[in-house]
């Protein structure tokens, strides 16, 4: 079968960081093969003395190259795989420099090998940076998303929350309940004014959809945000918890409370759910 997939596998010209990464991924094995199959001959070819220690290093690097192919091509971990290659190139340059000092056989060939690795380092770095940028663009651009979930803008410390919940009640009732609910994650009036919250009729007489597209302010920078997330206190977690409580209260008049989550839906309780068994709490 002739299909587009052949091109993706690297036979087509490598255009764009993804194609380039796949081509480089295959080249890892192309380079790793002689290292693992004939390490002595490989060492002679790059002008290094083939003593047992050098052979062992060559075998190790050869295996690493095959792993790189698996990771980039088979596992499709292109971005991580390419940054690993950058690290590998740096390691190889260090090894070649050490070989130049202690195990030099043919200076011209060694310089040639260093030149090749240096070039690979530049190409790998270019590709890795390209992939990282492409990923960042993909993540922060929500236009292709289904509109539900959390998106992390890699450009800043902010987290944009796009989520929706359906409440089985008419719009007027949901709007009134939205204003009356004791939100702590945001100010409902401000959200309505900025257009960050939207109410829509759910199809099939299923009530009202509440759509949120909101970028809460994250305090404490990246480290603070990570710390808040780890204990269930990040703004997006609070928003999701409160939306669930809001839905439950509006639809049923109560918030669902279990023995392990006595305050109702709580990201913090879920993260720390092992702290308390499902038993009645004394004095609850």
């Amino acid at each position: 079968m002739h299909s587009a997939s052949e091109g993706v596998d690297g036979t087509a010209p490598a255009v764009g960081p993804v194609r380039l990464a796949d081509a480089l991924g295959w080249s890892s094995s192309a380079l790793g093969a002689p290292m693992t199959v004939a390490p002595r001959r490989f060492l002679r070819a790059i002008g290094v003395r083939d003593d047992p220690k050098a052979v062992a290093w060559t075998l190790g690097v050869g295996v690493r190259e095959h792993v790189a192919t698996l990771n980039i091509v088979a596992n499709r971990q292109r971005r991580i795989g390419m940054w690993s290659r950058v690290a590998g190139d740096a390691m190889d340059l260090t090894l070649l420099a050490a070989a130049y000092r202690h195990k030099r056989e043919d200076e011209a060939r060694l310089f040639g090998a260093m030149g090749v690795v240096g070039t690979l380092l530049a190409v790998d770095l270019f590709t890795a940076v390209g992939l990282t940028r492409a990923d960042g663009a993909h993540v922060s651009d929500g236009s292709g998303s289904t509109g539900v979930g959390v998106e992390h803008d890699t450009g800043g410390g902010h987290t944009r929350v796009r989520t929706a919940v359906t409440i089985r009640r008419p719009e007027a009732e949901v709007r009134a309940a939205f204003r009356a609910f004791a939100w702590t994650a945001f100010d409902p009036a401000a959200l309505e004014a900025s257009g960050d919250v939207r109410f829509e009729r759910a199809p099939g007489n299923r009530g009202t959809e509440v759509h949120l597209d909101h970028e809460p302010v994250v305090r404490g920078g990246g480290l603070g945000a990570a710390a808040a997330k780890a204990v269930g206190q990040a703004p997006d977690q609070k928003i999701h918890d409160e939306l669930r409580r809001f839905k439950s209260l509006t639809e049923t008049g109560v918030i669902a409370r279990s023995e392990t989550s006595p305050e109702g839906p709580s990201s913090a309780r879920q993260i720390l759910h092992k702290r308390q068994p499902a038993q009645p709490v004394e004095g609850a």
Binding site: K247, G253, A256, S258, T260, P277, Q279, E282
Partner: protein, 391 residues
Amino acid sequence: MRATCWSGRNTVQVEEVPDPKLLTDRDAIVKITSTAICGSDLHLYDGYVPSMTKGDILGHEFMGEVVEIGRGVGNLAVGDRVVVPFPIACGGCGMCAKGLFSVCENANPNAGMAEKMWGHATAGMFGYSSLTGGYAGGQAEYARVPYADVGPIKIENDDLTDDQVLFLSDIFPTGYMGAELCDIQPGDVVAVWGAGPVGLFAIASAILLGAERVIAIDRFDYRLDKAREAGATHVVDYTQVDVPVVLKELTGGRGPDACIECVGMEAHHSHPIVHGYDRVKQATRLETERPHAVREAILSCRGGGTVAITGVFGGFMDKFPIGSMMNRGITIRTGQTPVHRYMRPLLERIEKGEIDPSFVVSHHLALDDAPKGYEMFKHKQDNCTKVVLKP
């Protein structure tokens, strides 16, 4: 009060814990008169269900007397005799409105956890890990029943014993749902994997719903005998024969019209290598299931037939025979049972004498003997099919 608490793999203990209290206006407290150990409790006991915590009170099949009610519960009174369904459902969300109580959108406060694993959450469930809400269970002297105006069914006929109505809480509706999902037509042949309590109810229900032949598959003679008692026309010991081959033969080469899987994540396979493959992957957490019965049911089912899965599964299985399913147009139907919608019609069948669910019970034990009950049930000692605990 005394309660059966999970305390790690293969250990449960009956401990003294605080008495339950009302947490919302729609709660009730039930003093438990009968509570059973479910086959799905064995998955917890064996340690294959994630997000369990030492000290979790187990049990989701229970009944008893209402001793306290919240202000919002208008349809129950103190002193009422009730059976409680195992899913906890709010009655007010879009799913409950459709009768899909087991995927209620409000009653699971840990829905966020469940969504990470399953995409969307289930309803709450009594005594069944944090993923289903972290609710205390009912193998205890008392239980708090949330949304008590939605779930419990009042038993007004005092002639009915606990053993006759207790299983409305889970296994009778679950087995019945398995048969109902098969959309049984006159003349149909139905095969049922697993002759445990749910399998027995699936067999009996398939007959009630008009199946002409029901083939029961298990490895214990005493369970296959029970299957005959439940109405199975044929029984197959899978350790003695190759099940798909025998099913072909019993159905004139066509395969069963419908297959009901009543086994779940800890199935056995008679071939040691096949069994070992999934056993090792499950033990090393590379897959969460040992799904032999699911695979066999799909491969055995006739083209265009239905496979109903009532066994409990946790996460991800290997070697799912999607090729057989797709190419031959097999329909798979499954779900945690929305027990609420089956309680009333099945209670009517019991009252009319169409079925007496107490036939599955093999042992009555005191609540304090729960650890013994788990061991007996797990190891199929003393011809154990169903243990009822009496607090």
